[in-house]
């Protein structure tokens, strides 16, 4: 039984069809990259999985739960087991690093605990461990607007990790970063997959990065899944099918 199973997923924005009949499955422990040109539906796909966007039809099965049928408390619990990191980090910039990390625990807490920001000692210890893992133990109380882009993204990763997720969705995690920060972030994601056994599902703009880090690549064009296979299988013909003829020449040296 796979960890994530997407069947016949379709999403319409009014007249425009963003995703067309997408089906694939992801096994526990995989590192899967999603590539495709801008507007090919990558971002919509990720948001349909954790229901930030409601799909028009199809099913999403995550950890034996039918995501699209959940509501209220059940949806919150399902989301809590599913981490997400964002292109623009999406932190509360006026709060400290540790407060932002602990936001990852809100899905497990009652309303009143969450409103008052009451976290247990175990949760705080876990937050420190996670920050240590990501090399941020020197800036526990630093306000997030004082961090560099790469550091902000590491806080985003820590927030996802403290959720204890089986899978982390990453929406273009390195698109706003310089090459060296990008490498650090991708290395951390790889480490999380290999050492913690957490499944990584990542949208990427850069084909070379996707090929270097992932075990499997999904290629999208205009909302359709046009490639599903290992990085090695991605030849010139496949790239052209994903990105169009001219772009293909540019990407394959």
């Amino acid at each position: 039984m796979s960890l994530l199973e997407v069947r016949n997923l379709t999403k319409d924005y009014g007249e425009v069809r963003a995703l067309t009949d997408v089906s694939f499955s992801v096994d526990a422990g995989e590192f899967v990259s999603v590539i495709g040109p801008s507007g090919s539906g990558k971002t919509t796909l990720i948001r349909c999985i954790n229901r930030l966007i409601d799909a028009t039809s199809g099913t999403v099965n995550y950890d034996d739960e039918d995501m699209l049928k959940l509501g209220g408390r059940d949806l919150r619990h399902a989301r809590a087991k599913l981490g997400m990191i964002f292109q623009h980090y999406n932190l509360v910039y006026r709060l400290s690093v540790i407060e932002n990390v602990l936001h990852g625990r809100l899905g497990y807490k009652s309303d009143i605990q969450g409103i008052l920001g009451l976290y247990s000692e175990e949760e705080k210890e876990k937050a420190l461990e996670t920050l240590d893992l990501l090399g941020l133990s020197e800036m526990v109380y630093r306000r997030c607007d004082q961090l560099s882009g790469g550091q902000k993204q590491r806080v985003g990763i820590a927030r996802a990790l403290i959720q204890d997720p089986k899978l982390i969705l990453c929406d273009e995690p390195i698109s706003s970063l310089d090459p060296s920060s990008s490498k650090i972030i991708m290395d951390y994601l790889k480490k999380i997959q290999t050492e913690l056994g957490i499944t990584i599902f990542v949208n990427l703009h850069q084909v070379d990065v996707a090929k270097r880090y992932s075990e499997r690549i999904l290629g999208f064009n205009s909302g359709r899944l046009v490639y599903d296979g290992p990085p090695d299988g991605l030849d010139r013909v496949q790239i052209e099918e994903i990105y169009g003829t001219e772009a293909g020449e540019l990407i394959i040296e």
Partner: protein, 287 residues
């Protein structure tokens, strides 16, 4: 519970209390300032309510009464013998005209002053003098300007328009000089290098490149000036729909008529707000 941290140097490693529990939040200067400000404002509010003079109005009764009045105003507004549709429309036109003339005069003065206040077109000393002068002018409420002018220069549209122009100049000056300052320094440098005079730079580069901003800001001020002109009609005898409202509320005590007039005012204001919002969105203006 929390430790006060005033410097940003010590916001690194986790801190633990005597029982090894982890400190989660630290009180920083911004947080402290924010809380103190809220606390002071809240205290002033409470004291204010405790001591406010209601002139023995029964507040519960008055609330019920005003609810009933609002019901009549918005539910069954009616024109009266004095305020017919034609009359109200004419008064709205007068108010709009006052606002228009104010905006026009204000805009002309503000463009000239704005050129001298923009930091890239003048020296900082002149810029600061103009800006300081404007902040004093803006400290005096518009109604005071209008009242001073109506005594000092005689009642009438002139006193109202010039009195209202002061804040208009202050507002537009800031908007204009900021849009002048956005002009790329390189453009000015290039023109200067090719031997253009200051006047030529202004007319060939500065004004053409900021004209759309100038026009949108001017319209936004026109929208504000409509409300100002309503107020001045009511409070300073400047005429127009505001004066009608004042007459209806103070002397004729005709609720249905007040409702009728209010609808006229809201309708004009809403139309202008929609236009202003579109302009702001189009030119990415944040006021």
């Amino acid at each position: 519970m929390s430790t006060l941290i005033l410097s940003s140097a010590s916001n690194g490693r986790a801190k633990r209390r005597a029982n090894r529990s982890i400190v989660l939040r630290q009180l920083t200067l911004p947080k402290l300032a924010l809380r103190m400000t809220l606390l002071v404002l809240l205290a002033v509010t409470v004291i204010g309510f405790a001591t406010i003079d209601t002139r023995d109005t029964d507040l519960r009764e008055a609330t019920g009464e005003s609810a009933r009045y609002f019901g009549i105003m918005f539910g069954s507004p009616e024109p009266s013998d004095q305020v017919t549709f034609g009359h109200a429309a004419r008064q709205v036109l007068i108010t709009l005209s006052l606002a228009f003339l104010t905006t026009l005069i204000g805009a002309v003065v503000a463009i000239v002053l704005g050129l001298f206040a923009a930091r890239n077109l003048t020296n900082p000393r002149i810029s600061n003098i103009i800006k300081g002068f404007i902040s004093v002018i803006r400290a005096i409420p518009t109604v005071l300007w209008v009242l001073i002018f109506s005594i000092g220069a005689g009642l009438g549209a002139v006193a109202a328009v010039i009195g209202m122009s002061f804040h208009t100049v202050g507002y537009l000056l800031k908007a204009y000089s900021e849009s002048f300052e956005e002009l790329d320094a390189a453009v000015i440098e290039a023109l200067r290098a090719s031997g253009a005079s200051w006047v030529q730079i202004v007319f060939q580069a500065v004004l053409p490149s900021s004209i759309t901003y100038i026009l949108s800001w001017t319209f936004i001020r026109f929208e504000i000036n409509f409300a100002v002109a309503v107020a001045m009609g009511a409070a300073a005898g400047a005429g127009g729909i505001g004066f009608e409202l004042f007459q209806a509320a103070w002397f004729r005590l005709d609720i249905a008529e007040i409702g009728y007039i209010t609808y006229f005012i809201i309708a004009v204001a809403l139309v202008m707000e929609i236009i202003a919002t579109r302009l702001k969105r189009r030119y990415h203006i944040h006021d």
